[in-house]
Symmetry: C2
Subunit: 230 residues, 2 copies
């Protein structure tokens, strides 16, 4: 039983709050019984598993929690990365909010067969907030990292206004739905080089755009529905 | 210029962090230039508007911020409530996360013409997190409060598994898409009394459900698309 805050495993967990340390070590932390169970269901073994009251004093575990008190279990895992691909997947540029990145990983796991591919400027999918928002999907469907130019298949760039409604662009084969940051949108290079540019129709007088995670869910739903109907 | 933390307006802002005080007073706080601009665009006047360096010492304004430091402007506004209605709207039960409630208010403003109607167990749409997540849509499209039995028109209850795919339920007139909490789903009473029960098709082997805000966005998109095609 760990009884000292100077324990090496607790020190590692504290360090993994830092994105640079996650990048250097290739490790990340999953907090809570649901996430640890999701890892197990995906057949992923932790490098370290700490259960409050069994492996570590509960107060010491709570003290290194990044998501709030009362954490009963924490695991240290190795980061895994997919290659881009699949019949349907998502590419993100400049999506800096880890909650959005994690939620999109969950939505893609539910609605598509390919990974979420992270382009420049995206939040770390292995940050505590992103892992939690993914609800464990990050274990089942690890994200990919690539530049827009490395994507294969049809690239459908979502823009707030440009192009036809998404439902009017036929699904012709494997495709990647591409989304940019909420205000800036996709880079001009992505919009220029994409196979198609399309928008999600919104009502007049409403917001200019949906939250990027909502737009991703709607787009994946629509493309999966169209592919099933085709 | 306010120079004391004991100022009455700052005290009011501090008290409005408490849900009970918001309920009693019928007031709420919007933080930040974007939200205050959204209120103005909606023609809503604040009861009090505090601009850092003009009306109040910047450090005192930051000290009462509920969303983090660096807030340059805060307004106190009166809560407004709609009646349920519209050709397309949303009803929520047990959605306790204020970020989800606010995001759904934004999505409904973008995709539907009716308000978000809050049933039992929902987060306060006028909490700081909900107001921020709404990105100002709460000013343009105030939420409603009602029990399931008070809804008018066709009620389409979303369930994780039951009923046909949502796209197979015809749109026949004004309707309310009904969603429950992420794990519990809608109450048995709502599922029993709804005009139709439907689900959003998800892939085999993926998550059991979408995040409730994703499900709401997908459902509103689908019903708006179907209504436009009808």
């Amino acid at each position: 039983m760990i009884t000292s805050p100077d324990n090496q495993q607790l020190k590692t967990i504290r360090k993994l709050a830092d994105k640079r340390h996650r990048a250097r070590s290739g490790l990340f932390v999953a907090e809570g019984e649901d996430l640890v169970a999701a890892a197990e269901a995906a057949g992923i073994e932790p490098d370290v598993l700490l259960v409050a009251g069994v492996d570590v004093e509960p107060a010491l575990l709570s003290a290194v929690s990044m998501l709030g008190s009362g954490t009963r279990v924490m695991g240290i895992y190795r980061q895994r990365w997919s290659a881009p691909g699949g019949r349907l997947s998502v590419y993100l540029e400049g999506v800096g909010d880890p909650g959005n990145v994690g939620t999109i990983i969950r939505s893609a796991h539910a609605l598509a067969d390919g990974p979420v591919t992270l382009g420049p400027g995206c939040a770390d999918p292995y940050s505590p907030k992103a892992v939690r928002a993914s609800m464990g999907s990050v274990f089942h469907r690890p994200p990919a990292r690539a530049a827009f130019g490395e994507l294969r298949g049809t690239t459908v760039a979502l823009d707030a206004r440009r192009g036809p409604p998404l439902s009017e662009v036929p699904v012709t084969g494997p495709e990647v739905v591409c989304l940019g940051a909420e205000r800036e949108g996709l880079s001009e290079a992505a919009l220029r080089d994409a196979s198609a540019v399309a928008h999600i129709p919104l009502r007049e007088g409403g917001p200019d755009s949906l939250n990027v995670a909502m737009a991703a869910a709607v787009a994946l739903y629509e493309r999966a529905r169209m592919a099933a109907d085709a």
